[in-house]
């Protein structure tokens, strides 16, 4: 099967790539652009930051990002309350001309985890305002159910805290969410550090992954982007192929019948 015959549908839009990529932390804008291209990503995340008058509205990296022509997913990184997130979301919609939003309301400076209560409050309001909300959330099943009930059509539980690269801290919780929300597109966002982590996310039945640091801070970001592109294909294809069941005891692969010499053993 080809990626094309296994499309990913988010909010009614169809994508071939199952890797969403961040645009921050790269050694240079050109390396960012090359990495995005190498990754095959069709959706990339962006943000808004205060602009000093003097700079005159110019931002080099934003020019590189815009020229990539990818579907943009603005985030609300740095917001600490529902009110801030809702306001920043409206600013994003105006300037990026999209109602897609990666909702991010940080609840703690230590692990940068989503604030479950504020994220839910913001999600309700943003859905009311017509946004297509992709919430960055924890691996809490009940919170995920509440976000779905609030009108989120896609959920993005974390694998591990942002930028740690620790992989899937709690595969059991992630699997519970998958089995309880079988129809909902699920994306592992944050914590993925190596291609094997990405493959694990797909093996759990997750539909896509969103990462940034693991690519941007690799020794060779463009090469790592290609590695994750393969990882997404390996993971998704392997999931569809149906992995063997793990066994407790060994079982020969080569036929046992007709093994030579056995009579000498008797």
């Amino acid at each position: 099967m080809t990626a094309g015959s296994d499309p990913l549908t988010l909010y009614g839009e169809v994508f071939e790539s199952r890797l969403l990529l961040g645009t921050a932390l790269y050694p240079s804008p050109q390396i960012m652009a090359d990495a995005v291209t190498a990754s095959g990503a069709e959706i990339i995340t962006v943000s808004l930051r205060r602009q000093s008058p003097e700079s005159g509205g110019g931002n080099t990296i934003w020019d590189f990002i815009r020229r990539l022509g990818k579907r943009l997913l603005p985030n609300t990184a740095g917001c600490h309350s529902a009110r801030e997130a809702v306001t920043l979301a409206q600013m994003s919609r105006e300037i990026f001309e999209t109602d897609w939003l990666k909702l991010e309301v940080i609840g703690d400076e230590y692990n940068l985890q989503p604030d479950p209560i504020a994220t839910l409050d913001a999600a309700r309001e943003l859905v009311r305002l017509g946004f297509k909300v992709l919430p960055y959330c924890t691996d809490d099943l009940v919170l995920c159910q509440r976000l779905r009930d609030a009108g989120c059509e896609v959920l993005m539980p974390w694998g591990a805290p942002i930028g740690t690269g620790r992989g899937l801290m709690n595969a059991y919780n992630l699997a519970s969410i998958r089995s309880r929300l079988p129809e909902m597109p699920l994306i592992v966002d944050a914590g993925i550090g190596r291609p094997s982590h990405a493959v694990q996310a797909f093996e759990l039945g997750y539909d896509a992954i969103l990462l940034n640091t693991a690519v941007a801070q690799a020794s060779d970001p463009v090469l790592m982007a290609r590695a994750f592109r393969h990882a997404a294909q390996a993971g998704r294809t392997g999931y569809l192929a149906g992995a063997m069941a793990e066994r407790q005891t060994a079982q020969a692969s080569t036929p046992v019948l007709g093994t030579p010499f056995w009579h000498q053993e008797n």
Binding site: Y26, V46, Q51, S55, G57, Q90, M91, E94, N212
Partner: protein
């Protein structure tokens, strides 16, 4: 004299200006930024009618990379 906070820094305006006038005076290009006043979003369509008041806190933001 109108004292405001622009992106967290104190600024002064000689007179009561509309938001569009203030942005122009500060040298912003309206089509490249988005604005919130006192953590409330202000759509572009209202830049002309909104008049900046003393003590307003403005956030003027532009696109950057994100994760």
């Amino acid at each position: 004299m109108i004292a405001v906070q622009l992106n967290g820094e104190a600024r002064e305006l000689g007179a009561a200006l509309s938001l569009s006038q203030a942005l122009e005076q500060w040298g912003y290009r309206c089509d490249k930024v988005a604005v919130a006043i006192n953590t409330e979003f202000v759509p572009r369509s209202r830049y002309h009618e909104i008049v900046i008041k003393n003590g307003d806190a403005l956030d003027v933001v532009a696109p950057v990379q994100g994760g």
